[in-house]
């Protein structure tokens, strides 16, 4: 692990200094893209997400909260404590909660209902930052890692799921705010990029599959493992929308839309991204 990480950071340094060299012409653009691809590959064999996964796994089995209950009693849809393959079937309708839940919402549900953690405490550090570790990010890293290689299989058989999907699609194409941006503005066409960053086309199966199966991800630029809820929140920030509420109906609708569109592909997260 340590050696892998050293190599990864070495590659990052090499990339940074390659950037510092002044590049003269447009012909360099394709070289730059090739360099970024090399950088991604160099990083891929040592993913710091493993640190979050390990912490999440320890937390999963630990008796927690005022009720001193571990997540082994938490049902992610496949039965109490069953983690293997659970993420590949989320979001789903949970009868005990009477609503559609994504992984993050379900974890919060288990914290509050099972472990007796207060709603405020469960929502304390939803996204980690410098000196602030997020329990949710660690738990999400662990649970998702246990679906690696499992084929995405989200079902819309339940009418509540069908409605969530339809709402998610509407929200995906919802243009608003001062910039007129919708999700589809950046993610509705194939082969586009913003600056040098490739943009997945989420309206087509292959794009949705590639994108959805590689979240959550360790973001090198932030030194954090980021969840799907974070991904959506930060997209809306850049869309110039107000703040997307964690676990809100819109966030779950969009996640349902994206997850269902990714059906048929093997889940491959937590991945590693720029």
């Amino acid at each position: 692990m340590t050696m892998k990480r050293t190599r990864a950071f070495g590659a990052a340094l090499a990339f940074a200094s390659a950037c510092a060299v002044s590049l003269s012409a447009m012909a360099q653009a394709s070289d730059a893209a090739a360099e970024i691809e090399k950088y991604r590959q160099a990083l891929a064999d040592g993913n710091p997400a493993e640190l979050w996964e390990a912490r999440g796994e320890a937390m999963w089995h630990e008796a927690r909260g005022p009720n001193k209950v571990s997540f082994d009693k938490c049902d992610l849809g496949l039965g109490a404590g069953v983690v293997n393959g659970a993420y590949a079937q989320l979001p789903r309708y949970f009868a005990d909660a009477g609503q559609v839940m994504d992984l993050e919402t379900r974890l919060i549900h288990c914290m509050t209902k099972l472990q007796g953690v207060s709603v405020a405490d469960a929502h304390k550090t939803l996204f980690g930052g410098p000196g602030q570790r997020s329990d949710i990010e660690a738990l999400v890293a662990y649970v998702t890692s246990q679906s690696q290689g499992v084929v995405m299989n989200v079902s819309l058989a339940d009418p509540a799921m069908k409605k969530m999907y339809a709402m998610g699609e509407k929200i995906f194409f919802f243009r608003g705010g001062p910039h007129d941006f919708a999700c589809a503005t950046c993610h509705g066409e194939e082969g586009k990029r913003i600056r040098l960053q490739d943009l997945p086309d989420l309206t087509h199966k292959s794009g949705a599959q590639k994108a959805y199966t590689t979240w959550p991800a360790y973001r090198v630029s932030q030194g954090e493992l980021r969840t799907m809820q974070w991904r959506l929140n930060d997209c809306f920030r850049q869309q110039r929308f107000p703040d997307l509420v964690f676990g809100s109906p819109a966030s779950i609708a969009l996640t349902t839309y994206l997850a269902y569109n990714a059906n048929g592909a093997a889940y491959a997260g937590p991945a590693l991204k720029r």
């Binding site: 447009m26 709402m167 194409f173 586009k192 600056r195 960053q197 703040d243 809100s248």
Partner: protein, 217 residues
């Protein structure tokens, strides 16, 4: 049955089938429309419940104007010509043209505006100037290799289209309110939505239209 009568019967049968098909078709279209209206209302309510105001980004940003509403509805289907022309007419008419009739500012400032992605995010300081973030989607000056491809390349824009008054005016109007020219364009309405000031738009126009601008080298 004589042939003529049989033909008539067959014709009548087809007419009846066609009529039934039309009625059923209309009914299902009406039902789709009703379902869609309900879904739209439910989605709007879900959106309201899902965002909170933060920094400069208020909840009113979820209120769509006519163009935003129509462009959302037609995002993944062909935009009817009459809808497009309605959007373009109203947006073109709302452009506030410079009182001095001059469309071109300083390309050096234009380059800075084109590079900056600041502005209007809740994480941005509303007191610092907004950028246009042109390079996020367009190729412009050749020295900047980190450009996006959502919009067309604008390299040598002035050189290619000619340094004419009409072209300068077009460039100003297009940056000010793109919907006046191309309904449901992906580009923000920089002037109409107070993202850039009139002077900033002139500076961006200079980046595109000044023969000395690096874009035109």
């Amino acid at each position: 049955m004589p042939t003529v009568i049989m033909q008539r019967t067959v014709t009548r049968a087809f007419a009846l089938i066609a009529a039934v098909a039309i009625v059923v078709g209309c009914a299902s279209t009406r039902m789709d429309a009703a379902n869609d209206a309900q879904l739209r209302a439910e989605t709007a309510a879900a959106m309201r419940a899902s965002f909170k105001a933060r920094g400069q980004a208020g909840i009113d940003r979820l209120d769509q104007d006519e163009a935003q509403r129509l462009c959302s509805d037609y995002f993944n289907k062909p935009l009817p010509a009459d809808v497009a022309s309605r959007i373009e007419k109203s947006n073109l008419a709302a452009i506030k043209w410079p009182a001095d009739g001059n469309y071109v500012g300083d390309w050096k400032n234009g380059e800075k505006i084109a590079q900056s992605g600041q502005g209007k995010q809740y994480s941005d300081d509303p007191k610092s100037p907004n950028g246009g973030n042109c390079y996020a989607c367009h190729q412009l000056a050749p020295h900047e290799i980190s450009y996006g491809t959502i919009g067309p390349s604008l390299y040598q824009f002035g050189k290619r289209h000619g340094y004419t008054d009409d072209m300068r005016k077009y460039a100003f109007g297009k940056v000010y309110n793109t919907e006046g020219y191309t309904a449901c364009s992906n580009m923000p309405r920089f002037g109409a939505h107070d993202i850039l000031t009139e002077q900033q738009i002139k500076d961006v126009v200079a980046l595109l239209m000044d023969p000395k601008s690096p874009v035109n080298q």
